[in-house]
Symmetry: C2
Subunit: 804 residues, 2 copies
Amino acid sequence: MLDAPSRPSARELLSLSSLAPLVPMLYVAWTDGELTGDELRALGSAARAQPWLDLKSSSVLALWVDPLRPPPPRELALVREHIRATAEKLATSQQQNLAELGVQLAQALAGEAPLSIPPAELAKALASIEATLGVDGKEAVRSLVPRASRVPHAEPRSHTSSFDPTAMTAVLDRTYANVRRQVRGWLEDADFRYKEGLGTTAYRDQVFDWLKHLANDGLGQLAFPKGREGGGDLGAFIAAFETMAFFDLSLVIKAGVHFGLFGSSILFLGTKRHHQQYLPRVASLELPGCFAMSELGHGSNVRDCETVARYDAATSEFVIHTPSETARKEWIGNAARHARIATVFAQLEVDGERLGVHALLVPLRDEHGKVLPNIRIEDCGEKMGLNGVDNGRLWFDHVRVPRDNLLDRYGQVTEAGEYTSSITGDSKRFFTMLGALVAGRVSVACASLSATKSALTIAVRYGDLRRQFGPQGAPEVRLLDHQVHQLRLLPLVAKAYAVDFALEYLVDRYVHRTEDDAREIEALAAGLKAYASWNATATIQECREACGGQGYLTANRFASLKADTDVFTTFEGDNTVLMQLVAKGLLTGYRQRFEDDRVFAVLRLIVDQAATVFTDRNPIAGRRTDTDHLRDSDFQLRALRFREEALLASVSKRIRKRLTAGVEAFEAFNQVQAHLLALAHASVERIVLEQFLRGVADVKDEALKPVLGRMADLFGLSCLESASGWFLEHGWLTAPKAQAIRKERVKLCEELRPDAVGLVDAFGIPDTCLAAPIGLGRLAPGGERFDDTAADSARAGPADSRAS
Amino acid sequence: MLDAPSRPSARELLSLSSLAPLVPMLYVAWTDGELTGDELRALGSAARAQPWLDLKSSSVLALWVDPLRPPPPRELALVREHIRATAEKLATSQQQNLAELGVQLAQALAGEAPLSIPPAELAKALASIEATLGVDGKEAVRSLVPRASRVPHAEPRSHTSSFDPTAMTAVLDRTYANVRRQVRGWLEDADFRYKEGLGTTAYRDQVFDWLKHLANDGLGQLAFPKGREGGGDLGAFIAAFETMAFFDLSLVIKAGVHFGLFGSSILFLGTKRHHQQYLPRVASLELPGCFAMSELGHGSNVRDCETVARYDAATSEFVIHTPSETARKEWIGNAARHARIATVFAQLEVDGERLGVHALLVPLRDEHGKVLPNIRIEDCGEKMGLNGVDNGRLWFDHVRVPRDNLLDRYGQVTEAGEYTSSITGDSKRFFTMLGALVAGRVSVACASLSATKSALTIAVRYGDLRRQFGPQGAPEVRLLDHQVHQLRLLPLVAKAYAVDFALEYLVDRYVHRTEDDAREIEALAAGLKAYASWNATATIQECREACGGQGYLTANRFASLKADTDVFTTFEGDNTVLMQLVAKGLLTGYRQRFEDDRVFAVLRLIVDQAATVFTDRNPIAGRRTDTDHLRDSDFQLRALRFREEALLASVSKRIRKRLTAGVEAFEAFNQVQAHLLALAHASVERIVLEQFLRGVADVKDEALKPVLGRMADLFGLSCLESASGWFLEHGWLTAPKAQAIRKERVKLCEELRPDAVGLVDAFGIPDTCLAAPIGLGRLAPGGERFDDTAADSARAGPADSRAS
């Protein structure tokens, strides 16, 4: 057979504006699946007979209707996405058939410029072509441009909120407001739209393209500005990361792996020559990298990793080797497809001596993407979510890298093979190096919060509109007017705000950290990462259930929010392990408090506790159940402080008792593991409440104070209620007070109900990122949220319509 | 161009045994994506030069390498699945290249029969063909037959359990042991394997094929036996359903929709003529049906549905009509693709009079699958999970059906247009008809439990083998030897057993229901459906997290378990709504208790409560914290009974107070909604513990009693601990006792630890259903669970190896 010219790509097809009106029909012709070759050819002839087609368009069209050249699904998906994206911009979505859709697409693409032929004439021509297609055009349009937004009860919002959501957004955007606005702007580019139905490979490549787009926009420069090889503004980068997490989470994690983990490892563990040589290419994404720390047998326990980096003085090289199957690098993001280099953590061996875990740069692929010799890479395969990230496994078979590739800020090897380090202890050096992970944990905490906000925005907006059940003979009631629905969602909104202020504090502490408080900040990051990611899992689940069947539709986003965030509780440190780290940090501090100044500390502790007891256990204050008392943030905070302090003293005593009795240290800690987790939780929650209150106190805008005050009360009382067993057990709450707290929460939810939608609007999530038809914020021209007319608007009670 | 012969289907290709050795190369040739037409042709020539190919094979092969006939993805997926399924059966998985894989496939297919050419010769020929392919054969085999089972720390199980898991399986299989064994046998057929990467349409068709397979095996006969049109053994059908839920949940739900909802609607709402006309074709799946109850605007609130069925006496027909967009039937399983008929719930209108919701049979598609006139069907689109079920939307435009199509057991319309019913009240009739839903709720509860068991089996087996952290200088410790890991998983295992016995009770009550206890059983089903499905969501999540990164891989099943079960809390009745139903049932009963025999009832209540107070609040018993007392099931059960009774009295008082004050009924209930849910939860949990204890007491096998006793204690004390706030508040627990309960739980977990794996083995889930490489039960010939050698077996402590 002769070789014919190849079919032009979808991109080429779509670039030809004169073909625009025909694109929907072309798509349907190939996907309808029942057209014979003859029918395809007939369609081609009819189309090519149109006088408005130039020669090039005509020949492209001919190749696109060639029955022997079926376009692959990936190409057709591109065509479909193009049609959908363009259709999204149309003022009306009342296309009745493919011809009308074609005309509208042509008009949308032409913009202000007039069409080359009058619309009416074009419509007529297209209608005649559509007839040759022999499909039900109405049906075809419906499946091609699904009006997923067909949601019932389209009606105005229930309330105008008591505050200006835009002013609240400014509060939440705070220090890095500019960066956040900038990223929102980037994400509103038409390129950043969820693509349905991409296969794994195509999805990964899409994510890489998006990342490249962001790198070009300037994302990398935020973290690693040109000419400042010492590093840029990590706080700004984290704010950007948090904002990006309103969109596709694979993109966020891929960005985190490349810029955050890989880039930061060079920044923090490398020295100036590494910075100069690598960071500019990291910032531009010319050199995609990965972070090879975890091993199959050593996930949480990195210190016992097995990969070896032996120094060969004869050649001044390090030899990287994977000695066993459990030593293979596992779950390495960016490794399966795109990374050309890796930061590899390995046991350093110099002259037969083991010097602990160090990091080295190891090239993985050449510039054409071909894997280098002696390196084996395997795909981790399909995951529950985040399938846009290419996680891989790595094996090294005596791979040699130059001596310079050791990231040697904390440990150096001379050419002759002498090891030097400013930190003498292996263990201390190891933990200092692990500090490079802190930015990752901070970022995951922030991304968790963004996903939480997305879910809450969708669920609260839906709950405000959807009606179900009601008094006999009266309109049904909005879901958010059901008591249980308020209790389901509003405390979670309050908690999201609390976490927001706590993360502001974390980022601020992190950005301004010194050597002295580095360990404290590591513990803070560990604790808040665990708290925020567990909260994401729980909140997204509750929101999904609160949206019922609608929440189960992929289009409404909970599917991806759930699947993508599910691993947040595991990666960058398993939450259970991190919380033990927090507890151990507290125990160390506790011991030091006594060792440093034993007498004073004991005295202070006694005084503190006495004050608590005096205020809260005395017959008057302890039994107060009035609103003023319960909504006194001091009262709430003292409760959480008391719990933390009591648990700390108790765990410390338990461990000392065991150690004194000769129980081995690991076993002694294992026996109180549940207590350690309770202590860590108490401590983190105290910090969250403290920072929420601090943040609210700092707000300048007086108009926002009442609603923020209620939110803080709701969060504070929710903390108390969820641990009421503990507080009752320790005599800190009495039964009537526990009951009063429950009542007060119900009251707070009622009071916050009218502000519910405003509170989620203030998260400032772009509609294009949110994407869920049941959760969009923009109102259609008619003042309604959705494109359906309010079928039962007669039912709606009096309500205010408000543009957001 | 001339029409050439069409490419033979994948099925044809795979049926030719002489092509078997070439199949892997053919697959790789098409999926590698980089072969040019010439390379394809070269491959074809090389292959066809082989002397062992007969003419037919040769021509099929030629068409499969024709560059102009790329096989569609669906066909390639079939080929891949065939290769994988065959490769699964191979004793070794050490194929190094495509040629070796080809030889092994040929041998596997040939079975005992000798190959037509000697294997060595075949291998040589294949190797030369492979060379023409120019791909990395090792890499290709790795991605074609992923050895997902490469899991670390392959080592023997930690303990031999204290009991015989097989005996425990017999206890759990109980009444319907035969049915369960039969279904396990069906599922072990090679046809029932998870298929990766199917598109939605292919997946739906696969599920339909599976269902057809099961119908042929006899599944439908269980529910609707031939010749017994009154119905068969629903208990047996539910047991089959529960067992099927160890496998693909889309299949289970599809079976539930067709046999359960659709079939049962005919059985329960229809009369003899419907049974005779339809049930045999329902049982055989000749007539796939769906159950059209929910409407877009009326999910939980079915009574307000809008679809109308107006009787036209002139033609003796009913006219089914969708009057508005909110009235469209929504989420109808089986509707988007396969159903040919629907049971439609609609407001019956006879002679201008509205008679409430009734059910009618409405044909949807003709025997060729073409949608009938005046019916519109739309696909609901992609969902979070269960994408093998084709949920659709239905609109009826004055569709006419014969008078006979009214399912008229509870309400009849004469030809002249007169309505008759044995139940006078519309409301009572409506709730009687809703009774048809009960089987669905029972089934969802059972399926929830099965999914819970799958997750627990995987997580417990993995936790028993995976090691992480440990004492310095000693082997790392198995996850399940960490205290927190025991506390995470073992109470959930105990709860799964508890739910198992509670569901046995529910099914038994359901099967033997009478008109008198129908309402009580509906409430029981509603409550246990909510309890079991919420438990599934929570347990699967905990298990996923307990498996860390491994839990996030699709291959390890949590992804589908989570996504597929997520809607269980929503469909067949939203859990929150169901729990309110439970509470309202209790309130009705409470009122009746007083009305029926006020004096006696009050007296009994006082006596009951006095007894409780006497036993548990007196200074001696109330403060006992010893093991004997805490592990006294009477003590645990009294606690739960006290809570239920106290909440019931309190809620009743609150509602009465409001109603007396003139608050409108809906609003009065709304104000105590949170209390209603607490009451429902307390009641359901009391029933679960009661039935667990009853079940354990009934077990004949004395050897199982100790472990079951510990499990019941763990469940009972977990109930108390999770509500310790409430019990402390109500003076039912003292602080030292609450603390003692916590300690006792830790101790119980320690005691149950060695039995953990045995307890999940007893669930009896076939390995082919479980499928998760980290959770399989079979041991490889070497006594190890996985196919990797135990890289660190040196680390393993003394342990017993045990076949399961």
